[in-house]
């Protein structure tokens, strides 16, 4: 093999690659926040008194989990303008990531809610708390604690999935990297550097999840 490594173009492009990292992190954080909101909201609505709402949540979860993300992001990117809503690639990508992650989060969080002992709920009701209060004050935290490792790995996946947003030219690491690569032809160096950056981002994310676990979920259990 006669390939000589030349990181010069990568080093020259470092500022824009790092900015791409920030773009990726931004997409990931936006997507995760939206996914959490959809996840918790979906879990509540999935047990709604109104049957049509339950069906809607069920259909949403099934559709999202059984179609490719690339198709979803294209659909949102090209379908929203038809509905009169024209969004930039970055907000579109956040919405797509949030919707996709949210569908998985509904199923994961629901598992946590179901793991909560019925007695906890009854104790809350017997104390005169309303159902919504019981969910928010009594069920939610232990439920999230129970499934937090699964949720965290789902969110690492969501973070890596941000690279698909390059397909609609959202501003993130993969699209920046592709541009650098096509201008310099240093494929190995550019994609190698991107790989390293993605690894670092994932690692940082897991550190943050570890800190959240220590900070919010570290009450003792039997």
């Amino acid at each position: 093999m006669n390939y000589t490594l030349d990181f010069g173009p990568v080093i020259d492009a470092l500022p824009s690659l790092l900015a791409g990292c920030l773009g990726t992190i931004g997409l990931a954080i936006g997507g995760m926040v939206l996914a959490i909101v959809i996840g918790i909201g979906g879990v509540i609505l999935r047990d709604s008194r109104i049957r049509q709402i339950r069906w809607l949540v069920l259909a949403f979860v099934e559709i999202i989990r059984n179609t490719p993300f690339l198709v979803q992001i294209f659909f949102i990117y090209f379908a929203l303008p038809l509905a009169g809503l024209r969004l930039d690639p970055t907000p579109t990508a956040i919405i797509a990531l949030g919707i996709n992650g949210g569908a998985y989060a509904i199923e994961i969080i629901r598992g946590g809610v179901q793991s909560i002992n019925r007695g906890q709920i009854e104790a809350g009701l017997a104390l005169g708390l309303r159902k919504a209060q019981v969910f928010r004050l009594i069920v939610l935290k232990p439920a999230l604690r129970a499934i937090f490792p699964s949720l965290a790995s789902q969110f690492v996946l969501l973070t890596l999935t941000t690279s698909v947003a390059s397909a609609i030219s959202a501003y993130e690491l993969t699209s920046v990297g592709q541009r650098v690569e096509s201008e310099s032809f240093r494929s190995f160096e550019v994609f190698g550097t991107m790989t390293l950056f993605y690894l670092i981002i994932s690692w940082l994310l897991m550190r943050v999840f570890g800190m959240i676990t220590t900070r919010y979920f570290s009450y003792p259990v039997k």
Binding site: N117, Q120, E122, A123, G128
Partner: protein, 258 residues
């Protein structure tokens, strides 16, 4: 009933709980049939009977953890309907203690006691904390206030659960086998707490097989079988002179076990 109120001067004549012709179905299964029960203010009732006889179902109907299908239940003069506002106002008056304690694991002892007074009664934080300290002291566990439930023994957890219910200042306390999940050496501390409550005049319905407790504090012992009230009598009479065959057999079984 009027005869016993003469012999028991601590009892007011005010009816706190009344159940008339109450029926409860789980689907096609009739769990309670024609329950008639009247509990006066300050009265202590012990409810016993074989497993599956409907004891839990009966007391859970009183705070509507279970809906009932026929008859009427009044608590503190209010008719218990399926309306959530009625249910909630009755639940604020009725404390419940469970076999499995059901403390909230993510909250400290103190927070367990403050949650409902703040969120359900709308008490301020300071007032809720004062109330919590008062009742934690009363069940003699104040020194553990900053611990989490998992750091306490079963007996301590159950005393916290009693304090948590008392923090709502209920007019009635329901106990569903509060000592059944406890190691034997912890039963006494919980029973002593309950005896203390009884001495302070709390209206109580206790599902328990602790017959010593029944003898000591009960005004009436009620025996259930197959979803019906079979026998009810003051403890002296209940234990020495049970009239029904099923009561005799049940008492025999209980005595053999203990």
């Amino acid at each position: 009933m009027s005869a016993s109120s003469v012999s028991e001067p601590h009892l007011a004549t005010k009816v706190m709980i009344s159940m008339t012709h109450v029926e409860k179905w789980y689907g096609a299964f009739k769990a309670l049939s024609d329950i008639n029960l009247s509990v006066r203010q300050g009265e202590r009732i012990v409810l016993c009977g074989p497993s599956g006889s409907g004891k839990s179902t009966l007391i859970r109907c009183i705070n509507h953890l279970e809906a009932y299908q026929k008859g009427r239940i009044h608590v503190g003069g209010i008719l218990l309907t399926d309306a959530s506002s009625t249910i909630n106002s009755i639940r604020r008056e009725v404390g419940m203690v469970f076999q499995q304690f059901n403390l909230f694991p993510h909250l400290t002892v103190m927070q367990n006691c403050m949650l409902a007074p703040m969120r359900s009664l709308g008490l301020g934080k300071a007032e809720a904390a004062t109330t919590a300290r008062k009742y934690l002291d009363r069940v003699r566990i104040l020194e553990q206030a900053e611990k989490y439930p998992a750091q306490l023994s079963g007996g301590q957890q159950q005393r916290v659960a009693i304090a948590r219910a008392l923090c709502m200042r209920p007019r009635v306390m329901l106990f569903d086998e509060p000592t059944s999940a406890l190691d034997p050496e912890m039963v006494k501390e919980v029973l002593d707490t309950m005896i203390g409550l009884a001495e302070d005049g709390m209206t109580m319905i206790c599902v328990t097989h602790e017959m010593g407790f029944a003898r000591q504090v009960a005004d009436r012992v009620i025996f259930m079988a197959s979803g019906s009230i079979v026998e009810e009598a003051p403890p002296a009479q209940f234990f020495s002179n049970p009239t029904h065959e099923r009561t005799k057999k049940f008492l025999g079984d209980i005595l053999r076990k203990h």
